[in-house]
């Protein structure tokens, strides 16, 4: 183990012993640790809206665009876009949003009519309209968003957080991934442990079959047989430990006990029977449209209650190159109600203060139209847009009820308070009690960090 990490653990927990354990053990090595400084947020729910949702139709109203409808952008904007778009032509016509925006909550933040449930939580939400990133393709954009670099091999933010804080749960993984819709472009790289120990990799809870791979006993193998198997295993492993004097075997024994506990705990997590009808209804568990994402949102709350450190909800895909009006509506219908319910539920249970909630895509979408299917306006979509888009945060350590940042009249560039992906990462870590420049891990002789060599904590976002 490298010196930095050893030092880190010594400061944080039970010294060397804890460090050795963390290297070798399963969730026992995930014991909770203290961050650099006291902080409000202890858990994260990261809602990743894969593909790049359209900020123009959800969060960033540009009524002025209607007079440009169908016309190309002014020449300087066209020039800016040259060779920077994935598909659309830089001189394609402007596509004003057909959505209606209105002010929500005490704070009066403007949001679109397609996300009324999210908008109803406006007073809890800190909406950033001035996001920007470096990548205009999906996988590179997701690499940057999650690992702070477009190069492969770095740990994802969930792994960093779990590495830093350990887990509060004794019978569930510390970092869980819940997916709905279809698979994401980034796949495993969005929840990889990179060069951190495997312990910190995200564990995927699956939609079909076992929530965790190989969680249930095979077929008709009884619980009793499983118990007998584990008892026999334990006895023989202990005998072997005595014989060889190899204390590491105790980690293996513990990992089997934990696996057995997970077999009990995970189904309990999935058992919603104790949730009230009102709760089920609010998340839309029993409605076909919202069931998938709603279930994941409710699971996220239940996981946070049980001490899971980092829950990632991935919903794919918002990559609406075509038929924007139809597809965006579908995604909003699937996700908006559960999102609103989750925020309200967390708040009502007093969990929102200690849970940092983030909602974002890997980039936004262009103000210009993209035509692939035909010229019919209903078939039009928007292209990838890394230069200006929206992201929102809520809960632990974040100041809700505000809008930060402003884009220009075309939503082409972040004009006021531009905030980069690295800044969001730095701010997230800050909310969890970490100085992002000091949460490091030595690999190939270098102390790596989530924010690479960039990132600033954005004070405006903080409560």
């Amino acid at each position: 183990m490298n010196p930095t990490r050893r030092g880190f653990f010594q400061k944080c927990a039970g010294g060397l012993w804890a460090a050795a354990l963390a290297e070798r053990l399963g969730a026992e090595g995930m014991m909770a640790r203290q961050p650099h400084f006291p902080a409000k947020a202890r858990n994260v729910i990261f809602m990743f809206m894969e593909g790049g949702p359209s900020q123009l139709d959800l969060f960033d109203p540009k009524p002025g665009l209607s007079k440009w409808a169908g016309k190309p952008l002014p020449p300087e904007f066209i020039k800016f876009y040259e060779s920077k778009l994935a598909f659309a032509q830089p001189d394609a016509g402007v596509l004003p949003s057909p959505r209606t925006f209105k002010q929500w909550g005490q704070c009066g933040t403007e949001m679109s009519d397609w996300i009324p449930h999210t908008a109803a939580r406006a007073d809890d939400i800190c909406l950033i309209r001035s996001m920007h990133t470096d990548a205009f393709n999906h996988h590179p954009g997701q690499l940057l968003l999650f690992s702070g670099s477009m190069q492969f091999g770095r740990p994802s933010v969930g792994a960093w957080v779990t590495y830093g804080l350990g887990s509060e749960s004794q019978d569930l993984p510390g970092f869980v991934v819940l997916a709905s819709g279809r698979g994401t472009s980034g796949g495993v790289t969005n929840w990889t442990n990179g060069f951190l120990p495997s312990l910190y990799q995200g564990t995927v809870f699956r939609n079909s079959g076992d929530p965790i791979l190989y969680l249930s006993n095979p077929g008709q193998l009884s619980r009793q047989t499983q118990r007998t198997t584990l008892d026999a295993l334990k006895e023989l492993n202990e005998q072997h430990m005595e014989e060889t004097g190899e204390l590491d075997i105790s980690s293996r024994i513990a990992s089997y006990e934990l696996a057995f506990r997970m077999q009990t705990a995970a189904p309990g997590l999935l058992d919603f029977s104790k949730e009230t009808t009102a709760t089920r209804e609010s998340y839309g568990i029993d409605d076909k449209t919202t069931r998938s994402f709603g279930t994941n949102c409710l699971l996220a709350r239940r996981m946070v209650e049980r001490g899971v450190r980092f829950v990632m909800l991935a919903h794919a895909s918002w990559d609406d190159h075509t038929e924007l009006n139809k597809k965006l509506k579908e995604n909003c219908d699937m996700t908006d109600k559960p999102v609103g319910a989750l925020l309200a539920d967390l708040k009502q249970r007093g969990l929102l203060d200690s849970t940092l909630v983030v909602w974002c895509g890997e980039f936004g979408r262009t103000p210009m139209v993209e035509h692939r299917l035909g010229r019919n306006p209903d078939q039009g979509g928007r292209d990838h847009h890394p230069f200006a888009y929206s992201l929102w945060m809520a809960g632990g350590g974040i100041k809700g009820g505000q809008v930060v940042g402003k884009t220009d009249e075309f939503c082409m560039r972040a004009e006021e308070d531009p905030i980069h992906v690295h800044d969001v990462q730095a701010t997230m870590l800050h909310c969890l009690g970490f100085d992002h420049t000091r949460l490091t891990y030595r690999h190939l002789g270098r102390d790596f960090r989530l924010t690479d060599i960039h990132g600033n904590v954005v004070k405006k976002l903080l409560a």
Binding site: L25, G26, A27, E82, S83, A86, F87, A88, Q89, F136, N137, H138, H139, F152, G183, S185, G187, V188, P197, L199, T203, V204, N207, G209, I212, L213, Y214, L215, S216, N217, P218, Q220, L221, S222, T225, Q226, T228, T229, L233, E235, L236, N237, Q239, H240, G245, E246, L247, I253, S255, Y256, L258, A259, M262, Q263, A316, D383, H384, R442, G445, R446
Partner: protein
């Protein structure tokens, strides 16, 4: 006279106007105060050094900073005037800028330089020093030492007053040796032979048998494939399958089994295509490069990802042969090691000429029948294509695409069509530029296939309907299905037209800096001959190269002892760990090179040493003194790699299919795994029959949704060279071994095997079970415990016949389902033991 005078006056006037400032008195203080901290003798950020004439006038990575005589055009002036330099916010005073401008206007004169222009960037770091074979030390306990390894290890132990451990028990020793050399446990018969052979040399004979087993190549190929970031799919969003990637793996296994020297092994992988009349095997060997990820996501800039591949190749070569984090110098000079950004791009320049090239690479026996069938097939192809007017339409297609390619900026459908050629094919864009007669045959055929498939990108449905294209596609598919079959390989070739290489500022492909030529690092001995890939490969494995042998030997050592002599096997640079036994490392490196870079020689040396043969039992006296077992006073217990865990379970169960080489397989896995692939696009057609039971290294490696058992047990993710795998212990591993149907099936089969193969008593069956799984007999306490659990389970299953039948679906004569089921459960216990997934 008058003329001369006025000219002199004029000159005088000009110099007065320019008032050339004195460098030492006026200019140098400004540079020292503001610039040379980052652009001076110690550090040259972005390659720029401003304290000496030659360097300053040459400029940095982005080009010259000073244009003597033209201050306004000098980047130095532009940047200080714009306040962009110095970067930390303190702007230069107007007077200071004035002095710099005047100095440049007057010609930017420096005082004469003394000493060499470029300092020799040699470093005193240990790993950059030449490898000399050290003398073997004299040790006290000479009887213990079997070879030089032991003398180096023992000398150190004697210095620390530590006794080595006794030799491991014979059963543990053969199991260790088999797993280490072949990745498979010994069969009970092999163990029996070894235990009953009491003549001298029994162990050495076992070593030779295993070194000559074809499974040796499989086991050691896996380590190499970790470095080669081998996978069977592209990676990135689309993650398309690579149907012929396995041909490279096949080559690696074969080369290792033949004990090809590491020098040749290197040259064939890095430059096999440049050897005279390369064989199909040599063309397959350069598939090493093709393991880079490919991004086929719609709308990507193909140049961006081509460059990403070239960078990946440079970094991989750096890690694999030099043990240096060369990739760190992609965006800036390396912070700790003597690798400048310029040098990174000089290495990059070797690989910048590579072009994907899929070639026929027949395996033995394939070529004859293929050659015989080709002429008929080719004739049918041509005739069919011509009968639909294919050739003329293809010429039109080509003309349209090339026109679109050469007039970029106007994103019309044809431009997309041109992009798709770059996106969807392996390197056919440049082939399309060639006239038909100049194209390599294989690639012309691939291009015709592509055209037939994607003509709709350029021509309208109506145009194609006129030519009956649908029917051509149908007939074509039928023809292709009956085409003579031959194995292909992902290979490379030099590009048709040489590309220039530039330093990329901050690694960004859109910000080229100065041009660089191929070359190696100044801190290492110079490369001989013309700067090309072949000479680069030869340079890597030259006797003078201080790194390749050390790095390679160290990685082999790491597999036998759990940690390398240099713990950070991926980093031999300044921030890596120092070797625990530097002389042993050098002795082994010299021996390796002088043996003709023979791996088998190195393996033999290590496994026949007393050091290797020690018991791995923990020792109380070492807990404080040497907790990480750096001094090697014992062996180390090692958890098996993912593949060996699978292989051992299948072998114990009698299920393993021992076929060597060939295409990948897809064992059963839960449906939920591929559901997480991009848009559910990954297909996982389960393998049937014997293919279900192939060794783990043949499992189709799908980068975005890899086979779970591999990942759960710490296989690398195949995106970067991996020099050292983790060995973790997690509850997901427990769930995997307990509940994965693959392992349940192994337990069921093992149970049946015990009933069928052992004499019908509990003791004999349990003995066989232990021998199959652990290579040894049960100890009395173990037999007693297992007996107890067996009885308990038997009783439980007698009461639950349904579960018994589930656990024991086969019928074995004279065994009740409850008995069979109870043996399945006992087998399952053994397959989950900590000892089963370790080698002692």
């Amino acid at each position: 006279m008058k003329v001369v005078t006025s000219a002199a006056l004029l000159l005088l006037g000009a110099s007065l106007l320019a008032a050339a400032p004195d460098f030492v008195r006026e200019v140098e203080p400004i540079l020292k105060k503001n610039c040379t901290g980052c652009h001076g003798a110690a550090v040259q950020t972005s390659g720029l050094r401003l304290d000496r004439s030659t360097d300053a006038l040459r400029g940095g990575y982005s080009g010259p900073a000073i244009q003597p005589g033209n201050a306004a055009a000098s980047k130095l002036i532009q940047l200080v005037e714009a306040g962009k330099m110095p970067p930390a916010g303190k702007k230069l005073a107007a007077a200071e800028v004035g002095i710099l401008k005047a100095w440049i206007t007057a010609g930017a004169k420096f005082p004469a330089e003394t000493g060499p222009v470029r300092s020799q960037q040699r470093t005193s770091h240990w790993s950059f020093q030449p490898i000399r074979r050290p003398a073997e030390p004299v040790v006290g306990n000479a009887a213990w030492s079997r070879n030089a390894i032991d003398r180096f290890v023992l000398a150190r132990l004697e210095k620390e007053r530590i006794q080595p451990s006794p030799e491991a028990e014979k059963t543990a020793l053969l199991r260790r040796l088999s797993l280490d050399l072949t990745g498979l446990p010994p069969t009970p018969a092999e163990m029996e032979d070894f235990l009953t052979d009491t003549t001298s040399g029994a162990y050495e004979r076992a070593v030779e048998r295993l070194l000559h087993s074809p499974h040796y190549g499989e086991k050691w190929a896996r380590h190499w494939l970790d470095l080669a970031r081998y996978a069977d799919s592209d990676g990135y969003e689309k993650d398309s399958p690579r149907p012929w990637a396995w041909r490279y793996r096949h080559w690696v296994i074969d080369a290792l089994n033949k004990d090809m020297g590491f020098d040749r092994f290197t040259i064939e992988q890095l430059a096999g295509d440049l050897l005279p009349n390369p064989t199909p095997d040599q063309k397959a060997a350069v598939g090493f490069y093709r393991n880079s990820l490919t991004n086929r996501e719609g709308g990507v800039d193909t140049e961006e990802f081509r460059i990403a591949q070239v960078k990946d190749r440079a970094s991989t070569v750096g890690t694999t042969w030099l043990g240096l984090s060369v990739g760190c110098a992609e965006c800036h000079d390396h912070k700790y090691d003597p690798i400048s950004q310029r040098e990174f791009y000089s290495l990059f320049a070797f690989f910048n000429q590579l072009m994907d090239h899929d070639v026929e690479a027949p395996l033995p026996g394939e070529l004859g029948p293929w050659l015989a069938a080709r002429p008929g097939y080719e004739a049918s192809r041509q005739a069919m294509f011509a009968s639909y007017g294919g050739p003329e339409l293809m010429r039109e297609w080509r003309a349209k695409l090339l026109r679109a390619a050469d007039q970029p900026g106007n994103n019309d459908p044809i431009q997309f069509a041109w992009k798709y050629v770059g996106n969807l094919t392996n390197g056919l864009q440049p082939v399309l530029r060639l006239e038909e007669s100049q194209r390599p045959r294989e690639q012309h055929e691939q291009l015709v296939d592509y055209f037939i498939d994607r003509a709709g990108d350029v021509f309208s449905k109506e145009e194609l309907a006129l030519r009956n294209w649908q029917s051509l596609r149908k007939e074509w598919a039928a023809l292709e299905a009956s085409a003579p079959k031959i194995t292909m390989a992902q290979s490379v070739r030099q590009s048709f037209s040489p590309r220039k290489s530039h330093i990329l500022m901050r690694g960004d492909f859109r910000s080229p800096g100065v041009e660089v030529l191929p070359g190696t690092m100044a801190a290492l001995p110079p490369m001989k001959g013309e700067a090309n890939r072949l000479n680069l490969a030869r340079w890597l494995v030259s006797r003078e190269n201080p790194l390749s042998a050390r790095v390679t030997v160290n990685r082999v050592w790491q597999e036998y002892f759990g940690r390398g002599l240099v713990f950070t096997s991926e980093d031999f640079g300044a921030r890596g760990e120092k070797p625990s036994h530097p002389e042993l490392l050098d002795w082994l490196s010299a021996e390796f090179m002088e043996s003709g870079w023979r791996f088998k020689h190195l393996h033999r040396l290590i496994v026949t040493s007393s050091t290797y043969r020690q018991s791995s039992k923990a020792r109380h006296d070492l807990k404080e003194k040497d907790p990480d077992n750096q001094l090697l006073a014992r062996q180390t217990r090692l958890r098996l790699p993912a593949e060996a865990i699978r292989d051992s379970a299948l072998a114990a169960a009698g299920l393993l299919t021992p076929t060597i080489g060939g295409p990948g397989v897809r064992p059963p896995q839960p449906k939920g795994v591929t559901e997480l692939s991009y848009a559910n696009s990954v297909k996982w057609p389960e393998s049937d029959g014997p293919d279900r039971y192939r060794r783990g290294l043949y499992i189709f490696f799908q980068r975005t949704v890899p086979y779970p058992q591999l990942m759960t047990f710490d296989s690398p993710d195949a995106v970067q060279a991996c020099s050292r795998r983790q060995r973790s212990t997690t509850p997901l591993q427990a769930l995997n071994l307990l509940n994965d149907p693959v392992f349940l099936e192994a337990a069921q089969s093992l149970g049946v095997r015990l009933l069928r193969e052992a004499p019908p008593s509990f003791d004999e069956r349990m003995k066989l079970a232990f021998r199959l799984c652990l290579g040894r007999d049960p100890k009395p306490k173990e037999a007693e415990a297992m007996g107890r659990y067996y009885q308990k389970e038997l009783a439980a299953l007698q009461a639950n016949p349904e579960e018994a039948r589930y656990l024991h679906p086969q019928t074995v004569a004279q065994a009740a389902p409850s008995e069979g089921g109870a043996w399945t459960v006992m087998a399952r216990v053994l397959l989950n033991l900590d000892e089963f997934i370790h080698r002692e």
